[in-house]
Assembly symmetry: C2
Homo-oligomer: 257 residues x 2
């Protein structure tokens, strides 16, 4: 249902208003897909659209998917208005609002063999990059702590190139899930820089691996380090102090896949 | 030499004026270090300071290095003024201008065993991330094409966490350097997604490896693909189309190190 809009305060655009404020978005019942490619991925992943806000030039490319959703409002506006509504420069002027899919049940995650578990990864780009590489390298799913970024926040989805919509994930309620992982046969493998950890190149991963990744800067908490079964470190030169957490995740996810 | 400044048009601050424009910076004889940590790394790497622009609170932390450079002007200003001069939000309000170090001679790079060669990597954050992981994993150096980003551009240094100042690197003049690499005994290993490439996990790297990484999006050009001796691909699921080039670089640099 095409609707031209020219009033940036139009009430019907409220899904797209003020998108810069990540904090407001965390627990909402929708997510925002930014850019044509991510919108197409959301449709391909079976997500239910609420409405779209687009420049006219994207209509043709989306025609085949929009035919299945004749009742969904598609607001058409100029790039400058899209920017005024959302409050930021929208990548190529295409936004989609979709119903937030349910999180993966813990039981289904526990049935996998390779899981990434993120403790307080707060940066959306880092979390999105971790999701992208985990999905790309065949890991089965993701758990994130309460304080971690939202894999379905606009910038995280974008950074994941839409993989947030493909990789099963779940937000943890506490450390109970770590115990559940162990009871399901997972070894908890902590990525760490601390001395005494096993060099990654010498580490033999077990049948089921839950890779624990810590927050940017400080790394895994003492509690999580203590809870882990194994501690591995990526062998590094002294030319750098550390690697970016998404970079480390890529290397670990490849080596332990 | 401490100098308080309160005029954002002060001529003495011209090294720090209008830093948002990357194009203007490429071929200059200086580079900008942003943030206390990167400034300290620049001093540690032996770079020659031209001047600094700081909030007063960083003076104490830099005292030990500034003692060696009594004649270098250290402009002290409020955060808002630093932002007005530079034209962007300066991470924690500390900027340093340093003389640009000479590029590594080709001959010294050819003496290494592991080199990264970037064809048209234009994103500063990606290039910085590649530099950081190459330095961290013990690679010997970096070559970048004429159209690639500048490893010493402010944001690239920041993204590299200062590793741009540690890892020897050089800008290429053309494809002549590819031939020089081969003549020096390097195998040119193209990172690619194309069918027919060898899976990374089955690839046996030779004694000397030059890893060719292509531009964001399109990947390596046909000419570089044709010039390569080997073609490797990271085995991926169909949940993603590709990996970010810095992510791929991390995996390849680890697997081929």
């Amino acid at each position: 249902m095409l609707i031209e809009v020219d009033d940036r305060c139009d009430e019907r655009l409220r899904d797209f208003a003020g998108l810069r404020d990540a904090q407001l978005r965390r627990d909402e019942d929708r997510f925002i897909a930014e850019g044509l490619k991510i919108i197409e991925r959301a449709f391909a992943a079976g997500c239910t659209p609420r409405s779209l806000l687009l420049q006219p030039r994207w209509l043709e490319g989306l025609r085949h998917v929009l035919e299945d959703w004749p009742e969904v409002p598609v607001y058409v506006a100029k790039e400058t208005m899209i920017e005024q509504v959302s409050g930021f420069h929208v990548h190529r002027g295409a936004l989609g609002s979709f119903e937030r899919p349910a999180q993966a049940p813990l039981g289904s995650l526990l049935g996998g063999r390779r899981l990434v578990v993120c403790e307080e990864i707060v940066d959306h780009a880092n979390l999105g990059a971790i999701v992208r590489v985990a999905a790309g390298l065949g890991w089965d799913g993701l758990l994130v702590t309460g304080g971690s970024a939202d894999p379905l926040y606009r910038r995280a989805i974008k950074s994941s190139m839409g993989a947030s919509l493909e990789l099963p994930w779940r937000r943890m309620t506490g450390e109970a899930e770590l115990h559940a992982l162990r009871e399901a046969g997972f070894r908890l493998v902590a990525a760490t820089l601390r001395p005494g950890a096993v060099d990654l190149s010498r580490f033999e991963p077990s049948e089921k691996v839950a890779l624990l990744l810590g927050t940017e800067g400080a790394g895994l908490s003492e509690a999580w380090q203590a809870a882990a079964d194994d501690h591995v470190r990526i062998e590094m030169t002294d030319r750098v102090d550390s690697l970016n957490v998404a970079t480390a995740a890529a290397i670990l996810a490849y080596a332990l896949r």
